[in-house]
């Protein structure tokens, strides 16, 4: 395509938007609302997932050893655990550490009871590894593996915690996919309406174009450009608004709700927007392209 033809097509796309100002504005506004909601939803979901991840990272599988196991064998088990992809870290807790911890928790204020045990460690067979995972949904396979290792007496895990978190993550995934799908359909429908009006307004011009030898592509391209431009504008505007809103909310929460810090740490704005910006723009362009293309196929028999 010649540069002049490309520029002409671009110009016609902009003109189309301008000619149908009201419909274009309505499309841009709805597209903006959709992308805005998508952005809000995305920001909430990623921050929520971060919280869930943090909770997940605190859930560990405990590996107890056979009673008369040697230190060398414990180390060998540790090496095998390290090799697993599911494992993010493991901590060795000796029998002495377990007993010390037990005393701290259960004999607080009544240390004299603990003294009765003198140097006797009643939890002598309680040395164990605490194994933390990258993804809690992998717990089941990890437990099966750990139970198969020589020298392992028992593996304790919280199925309820793992299942709840996994189910919750899945639910978030489904809900977000559902909402995004609905938003996409609404946006495609609206862009399609705008392009339909554009086609109706330019019907005579299109007929003239065809009679003097315009190709289908030449006739259709400005409408595709129109859809894409609406998509780009309709996604850039809410992104800008979201960016400033997100920053303000972070500052506001950090300032007014200091007691929440540690429990509720927001993801940094750049981290959220490094994904949100390209995804929203691609969505905008995609919806614009799809909406206009579908309409052209339906209403522009050239």
């Amino acid at each position: 395509m010649r540069i002049s033809t490309f520029l002409y097509t671009l110009k016609q796309g902009v003109k189309n938007i301008w000619k149908n100002k009201m419909f274009s504005l309505a499309s841009i506004a709805t597209m903006s609302a959709c992308i805005f909601l998508f952005g809000v939803f995305y920001s909430v979901v990623v921050n929520f997932q971060k919280v869930v991840k943090e909770v997940e990272s605190g859930v560990a599988v405990t590996v107890f050893f056979e009673d008369n196991i040697k230190e060398k064998e414990i180390k060998a088990i540790g090496k095998q655990i390290d090799k697993r992809v599911e494992v993010s870290k493991k901590v060795f807790v000796s029998a002495e550490d377990t007993w010390d911890e037990f005393q701290k928790v259960y004999f607080e204020g009544a240390e004299e009871f603990a003294e009765d045990f003198a140097d006797d460690n009643p939890l002598i067979h309680s040395a164990h590894y605490e194994v933390y995972m990258n993804d809690i949904s992998m717990q089941e396979s990890l437990v099966t593996y750990l139970e198969s290792l020589d020298g392992v007496k028992e593996v304790k895990s919280s199925d309820a915690a793992a299942n709840t978190l996994t189910d919750f993550n899945r639910l978030i995934g489904y809900v977000s996919a559902g909402i995004i799908l609905i938003l996409l359909c609404v946006a495609v429908f609206l862009i399609s309406n705008t392009v339909t009006v554009g086609i109706a307004v330019r019907r005579e011009e299109i007929a003239i174009m065809k009679l003097i030898g315009a190709t289908d592509y030449f006739v259709r391209a400005p409408f595709i450009v129109e859809g894409i431009l609406i998509g780009v504008i309709g996604s850039a505007l809410p992104l800008a608004v979201l960016y400033f809103m997100y920053r303000r909310i972070i500052f506001y929460v950090a300032d007014k709700f200091r007691w929440l810090s540690g429990m509720l740490d927001f993801l940094p704005v750049d981290q959220v927007f490094s994904v949100l910006v390209p995804v929203a723009l691609i969505l905008g362009v995609g919806i614009g392209f799809l909406g206009s293309r579908m309409t052209i196929r339906k209403h522009l028999k050239v």
């Binding site: 395509m1 010649r2 002049s4 033809t5 002409y8 005579e204 011009e205 007929a207 003239i208 174009m209 065809k210 009679l211 003097i212 030898g213 315009a214 190709t215 289908d216 030449f218």
Partner: protein, 227 residues
């Protein structure tokens, strides 16, 4: 060259718009097609532009069988056939220059060619001075001249004119006919569909008469035509 071989066109059950029409128009000819409303003149123009497909028969234009032209090649075919309508069909939001340049734009002509050809064709139709005017600012005759300039700017071998003087007064109608004659003298085949008997009689060109979808008369150029 335009050749129709036993061409029929039916829109739906009933009398066909064209019924077994055969005709041949040589390159460089000037031909009038006359007939009452419903005689099939407009259908003929639409068939020649490949806006419609014949129900049966063959149409050959510039050695191309229209039936064998694929949909995607139709634009290329139309670039060799200029067309002018009774209602001018100009783009109201563009000035005279832009209306003519539009035909060049549509075929993807380079800007350089546009800058050379558009003023040349505008000066041929006598509108060089009004290139900045919008359709609403010029007379009907001038609007038809713009339409002719637009039809000619891509240098077609054939010019089809569907009632080009239908919306014009007698003076402007004559001016347009003289212009079409001049275009014909430059080598373009011109086919004019018209109701204007006075002009047809005065021009002394070949006249094809149609009635109810059939050719009922074909007077050679120079013959005296009587309605």
């Amino acid at each position: 060259m335009i050749k129709l071989e036993n061409v029929s066109k039916s829109y739906s059950a009933g009398i066909p718009a064209l019924n077994d029409v055969s005709l041949k128009i040589e390159p460089g000819e000037f031909v009038f097609v006359v007939g009452d409303s419903g005689s099939g003149k407009s259908t003929l123009i639409k068939l020649l532009l490949k806006e419609l497909e014949p129900t049966s028969g063959n149409i050959v234009i510039n050695n191309q069988k229209l039936g064998s032209i694929r949909h995607r090649d139709v634009p290329r075919f139309r670039r060799h056939v200029g067309v002018v309508f009774q209602d001018f069909r100009l783009l109201k939001d563009r000035n005279v220059y832009e209306n003519v340049a539009f035909a060049q734009r549509v075929i993807g002509a380079p800007t350089k060619s546009m800058r050379r050809k558009v003023p040349a064709v505008l000066s041929m139709v006598g509108l060089a001075a009004k290139y900045k005017s919008y359709p609403r600012e010029i007379s009907g005759g001038e609007q038809q001249r713009v339409a002719i300039a637009r039809a000619l700017v891509n240098e077609p071998k054939i010019l089809l004119a569907d009632e080009p003087t239908g919306n014009l007064d007698a003076h402007n109608a004559w001016d347009i006919m003289k212009l079409l004659e001049e275009i014909n003298h430059r080598g373009t085949t011109v086919l004019v569909v018209t109701h204007n008997q006075e002009i047809v009689r005065a021009m002394k060109k070949r006249v094809i008469t149609m009635k109810k979808g059939v050719i009922v008369g074909d007077e050679k150029a120079g013959d005296s035509y009587e309605d």
